[in-house]
């Protein structure tokens, strides 16, 4: 499954209002894998995704897409093949499911094939198919999360970036969402980078994970290795030596 790097961040530093959010971070997403970014609140996980997308301004470092350095511009990323599913189930609540998906295909030049693509995506999400004409605000939290992911898929991404897809969802729904993410990865070979705090539910689905703490990568590797090392408990429950205070 592993191969060339689809996305690579080299030496990325970012700050907000004088606080370092990322400090010389190196992270890579290889073709066909699912990579998790984990860590406690304020570790800088979401900032990594924002850096890839040109939403966060880089102090230093470079972003590479398929081996080439890029200067990310938010509205051009989907056209390149990099799609972000932002945190908080941000679907277009006043539009229908179908319209949300159409907007998801905005970057596609061939608008004639759009209907077919949408049908294809809806086949992956039977829940949404049944309600394609209803407004997104009428959906449950889990359905909205599915819609946000589905909307991203319409663009046919090579790299799919997910920001905390489990936030505010019940454990059962979280399982469904992750199963769906895995299914997409297997069926389309989409490379996926997912930011999560809900670690244990996630680990069985991912190939590799990075653990961040205070803007730095403190561990990287296969999930089994990370669990055995106990690094997660240390980072989350504050037993790490480098901890503040």
């Amino acid at each position: 499954m592993t191969g060339e790097n689809i996305l690579e961040l080299k030496g990325i530093s970012v700050h907000y209002h004088g606080v370092k959010a990322l400090d010389g971070v190196n992270i890579a997403l290889k073709r066909g894998e699912i990579v998790a970014l984990m860590g406690p609140n304020g570790a800088g996980k979401s900032t990594v995704l924002k850096s890839v997308f040109g939403i966060a301004q880089l102090d230093s470092g470079e972003v590479f897409y398929k081996g080439r350095p890029i200067t990310p511009v938010v509205h051009e990323m989907a056209g390149l093949g990099v799609v972000l599913v932002p945190q908080g189930r941000r679907v277009f609540t006043r539009l229908t499911i179908e319209e949300n998906l159409e907007i998801g295909g905005f970057s596609i030049r061939d608008r004639n094939g759009l209907g077919k693509r949408i049908d294809g995506v809806l086949d992956t999400f039977p829940v949404l198919k049944k309600k394609r004409k209803s407004r997104a605000r009428a959906l449950s939290g889990g359905e909205q999360q599915m819609l946000a992911i589905a909307r991203g898929l319409v663009a046919g991404p090579e790299a799919l970036l997910l920001d905390e897809p489990s936030l505010g969802l019940s454990p059962r729904i979280v399982k469904e969402v992750f199963a769906k993410i895995k299914e997409i990865n297997v069926a389309h070979g989409t490379s996926i980078m997912v930011v999560e705090h809900n670690i244990k539910s996630l680990l069985e689905f991912v190939d590799r994970a990075y653990v961040l703490d205070k803007g730095k990568v403190v561990a990287e590797g296969a999930p089994g290795k990370l669990i055995e090392g106990g690094i997660l408990e240390k980072v989350f429950l504050g037993k790490l030596q480098a901890g503040a205070g």
Binding site: M77, A78, R90, L95, I103, F106
Partner: protein
């Protein structure tokens, strides 16, 4: 009975005129989230463009009208490119954009007065009277009602069924996510300014045919449009038009008992009442 019919006809005419202002104002607000007071001067500029083309250059009325609509559109587009886009990029508050639009309104209005004097200008237009349900209506006024109706319909169809319209809805719903899914929001906003201002141009041109042009006409038209939008519900096509009709009826039935000079005051009293009692407008988003 006859008075009643005439009042209804007058209300619909006024409502349709306000709707033409409200539609564009609302459209621009839905993607930019600020009160664009320069919208009024786009209407006046459209009217004066037609006046210039017909009176000074002797152009055919229909060609001049088309050109007037397009120039109003470009004026609005220019406002966005030169002023509002820069302010948006700097993430300035909506108040800053509102003050800038006030500046555009005053200065362009003054330029119109310098170019065309403060005199009231009228178009050479026939005033054939038609009879509808016992109320009299001129040809121009028929055009006002027809434009109000068709443009509301057309705009609703565009927003519902074209990719551009869906992009506008998406930007208005959540501009940041719209960018993330690949919409160039600045481009969409520029086009919205063009469309909205062109519609305002229609209102200005029809006012010119109906009653004549003055450099400050934009302000009066704009205020009615803004009030209509707010009482109808900001950011909603049908809301703006419904609000316009309500305003048209309230004013015209109001002056049945109250002298006509109080029209503007009446509409603001309605606005303030709505803001206090039902701030979200008649139709919720």
């Amino acid at each position: 009975m006859e008075i009643l019919s005439q009042l209804i006809v007058n209300s619909v005419i006024a409502g349709a005129m306000y709707a033409l202002m409200a539609l564009g104002f609302n459209l621009i607000y839905s993607v930019t989230r600020f009160f664009n007071l320069a919208h009024g001067v786009a209407a006046a500029a459209g009217g004066y463009a037609v006046f210039y083309l017909t009176s000074s250059l002797g152009q055919n009325v229909y060609i001049a009208t088309a050109a007037g609509i397009v120039s109003a559109g470009f004026l609005g587009y220019g406002f966005d490119r030169l002023v509002f886009l820069r302010l948006r990029r700097r993430k300035t508050s909506s108040m800053v954009q509102l003050v800038a639009s006030l500046g555009l309104l005053t200065s362009v209005q003054a330029v119109l007065a310098i170019l065309f004097t403060n005199e009231f200008q009228t178009f050479p237009a026939g005033h054939t009277l038609y009879n509808v349900l016992g109320g009299a209506i001129t040809g121009t006024q028929t055009a006002v009602v027809a434009s109000g109706f068709f443009i509301t319909l057309l705009l609703a169809l565009i927003l519902r069924h074209t990719m551009f319209g869906k992009a506008v809805n998406a930007v208005s719903d959540d501009a940041e996510v719209a960018r993330i899914v690949g919409i160039d929001t600045d481009r969409v906003t520029g086009r919205v300014f063009f469309m909205g201002s062109a519609i305002a141009g229609i209102a200005g041109i029809l006012t010119g045919f109906d009653t004549g042009l003055g450099p400050t006409m934009g302000m009066g038209l704009l205020l009615k449009g803004v009030i209509a939008c707010i009482i109808g519900g900001m950011g909603n096509v049908w809301g703006g038009t419904a609000g316009s009709m309500l305003l048209g009826f309230a004013e015209n039935f109001g002056i049945w008992k109250i002298p006509g000079q109080w029209k503007d005051a009446i509409s603001f009293v309605i606005l303030i009442a709505f803001l206090l009692l039902r701030p979200e407008g008649m139709i919720k988003k």
